[in-house]
Amino acid sequence: MKKTFYIFVILFLKFNIAHSLIEVDITRGNLDPLPIAVSPLYVDVQSENYKDIKIKELGELISSVIEKNFKSTGLFNPLNKDAFVQKPDIAHLKPRFEDWRLITAQALVTGKISVKDNKLKVEFRLWDLAAAQEMVALAFTTTPSNWRRVAHIISDKVYERLTGETGYFDTRIIYVSETGLKTQRVKKLAIMDQDGENTKYLTLGNELVLTPRFNPTNQLVTYMSYFRNLPRVYLLDIETGIQEVVGNFPGMTFAPRFSPDGKKIIMSFAKEGNSDIYTMDLETRLVEKITEDSSIDTSPSFSPDGKYICFNSDRSGLQQIYTMKSDGTNVKRISFGNGIYGTPVWSPRGDLIAFTKMRAGKFYIGVMRSDGTGERLLTENYYQEAPSWSPNGRLLVFYRETKSGKDGSGFSAKLWSIDITGYNERELKTETDASDPSWSSLLSK
């Protein structure tokens, strides 16, 4: 009996020691972009051609757009197609994971398209190559001319699955297109896809237009225009082309922006050297004065929950950023750094406020927390301003003016985007010079 007991105890001890778990902390990793393979989408042989779109080439085209989108994020590294071993049709059914792992891919996008009865059907799958399993599989049906949007939607779905954030590819950017000499600038409203494609001009350029802003819930745009030399805030429906003046203000209205629910416009109204912030309800047309101060209050922007407003004001002497409740109470100054702050914009995530800062003759685009702490300057240049958030709050688009020409007497204005980490700064290609960008919300939700 005793023997059995001792043996049992010894065995128990041995088992216990042998199974004490080793733990290793992994606190660092690779910050390189994720290697991803985007296989050309397989085109069903029975597909019919549609107008001037060559369906046979569509598989390649869609995968190229997806690749371009991924590359632009700085988070993914699309691998060269020449290295792909497997054909698109077989890859889409069941990829040979070893083949794809050989080229160091960690994720794979495959797909299939077919056109029947003038309808484009696109299927795609995202594969986790290390786990050898499918991560997402979706199918879309649309008109073939919408193929670029399909590519953007696929990019959004993959991006969301791999990063946990919603994407921003199926979006558009509205901006002011600029042509001509600096003294005789022609400014038109223009709109394009976020990747610079499908540019369309919304105004003729007869009047000066400034600060276009998207409604976060629909395809309405608000902007400022000088009609008969009087700056006024306008409302434009992109789908119908109908525009109207916002409110019946006796003086100058400017710096308009929509509320997060899209039901109100918040803007500045200037009268006799003083400007205050007002809101106007788009349904009831009711106007409400939000600030009442002898200083210049302008550039208002709502927080995503609509409860707060950030704006800039010179009430402390220099132009600084302030926040207040949406009824105008509890005004707090949040910027205290050296320099002048302007164009504050609340992030769609709600955590950060983007701004333009001017200090020692240079312009910076930066972000700070909504309580004013954690100020970070992301980019510096000779002249740049007007940041606008991507719908997921990950990127900022802004415009930058640079000197051009041999003697540096000319200038050019271009759109740029930057990640909130301060990395992946890149120029957005536009047909003309461009300024005052505003990023739309996702077109497909």
Partner: protein, 268 residues
């Protein structure tokens, strides 16, 4: 009857005692590490020399430069002379060397002089760098430990020492996984994101079974980031296999737990 009751009672008491003693929080590891740590660190610096992304590299290089400056200021200038007194060039030779370098008229002579000095300096440089690297690494590691308030992290580090892997073995494993783990960069900074993966390993370091310990959290609403992180960690482990494990002591490391925590890195 009484005897068997006593046996039963004592057996149960021992069992309860053993169970309590074997619980992780009861294990008290020595706080002071033996001096072996500094010897092992050479290996760590070799093993952990993985390609960092630009941001991380910048931060580490900056820290290293600052540390180097401190080290060079602290080092006594006479130390080099003491180490190799027979190789100190004579004043005449020094003059000649200076002249040769200034004139640059005789390439051959300059070359020989350069070679001599380079050999001479090389050894010194290697020595100081290695020492500096040791100090750098030690300071970095100690700073990290100080910075890291995560109790789990500190306990588990001790666990690894005491229960199966030496410092170098643990670092080799960690360095291997560092290279394989592509951290999802969209993660929010403030979230409590720690992914614990339990691995059953074969003797060759390949994985026979992997399990995310908080796997139910992955499917909870609002835990998208956790899911992405967990998947990236699992991907890293799979890509990395066979893991760099010791050739002996299989029983000790056949089950290991990896705690993936990217917050320190994402905060920069």
């Amino acid at each position: 009857m009484t005897k068997s009751l006593i046996y039963s009672l004592s057996f149960h008491a021992i069992m309860i005692l053993l169970t309590v003693l074997s619980l992780p929080f009861m294990i008290r590891e020595p706080v002071d590490l033996p001096p072996i740590v500094s010897m092992q660190l050479i290996q760590i610096s070799d093993e952990t020399n993985i390609p960092f992304a630009p941001k991380a590299r910048k931060v580490i290089n900056k820290v290293k430069e600052e540390e180097k400056r401190v080290v060079s200021e602290q080092a006594p200038p006479s130390a080099k002379a003491k180490e190799k007194p027979d190789r100190i060039p004579l004043p005449k030779k020094q003059d000649e060397k200076k002249k040769l370098v200034k004139k640059k008229q005789n390439p051959k002579e300059v070359k020989t002089e350069v070679r001599q000095t380079s050999e001479f300096e090389k050894k010194d440089i290697i020595d100081t760098n290695q020492i500096a690297a040791l100090i750098d690494k030690a300071k970095e590691d100690s700073a990290k430990v100080k910075k890291n308030n995560n109790k789990l992290t500190q306990d588990s580090k001790k666990n690894a020492f005491a229960k199966g892997l030496t410092l170098s073995e643990e670092d080799a494993l960690r360095a291997q996984i560092f290279g394989c783990w592509t951290v999802p960069l969209g993660l929010p900074y403030d979230d409590d994101l720690l992914v614990r993966i339990k691995l059953d390993l074969k003797q060759d370091g390949t994985i026979s079974r992997s399990e995310i310990l908080d796997h139910e959290r992955m499917n909870r609403p609002g835990q998208k980031f956790y899911k992405v992180l967990a998947e990236s960690a699992l991907r890293a482990v799979r890509i990395c296999q066979p893991l760099r494990v010791p050739q002996t002591g299989y029983d000790k490391w056949k089950t290991i737990q990896l705690n993936f925590n990217p917050m320190e890195m994402l905060k920069g």
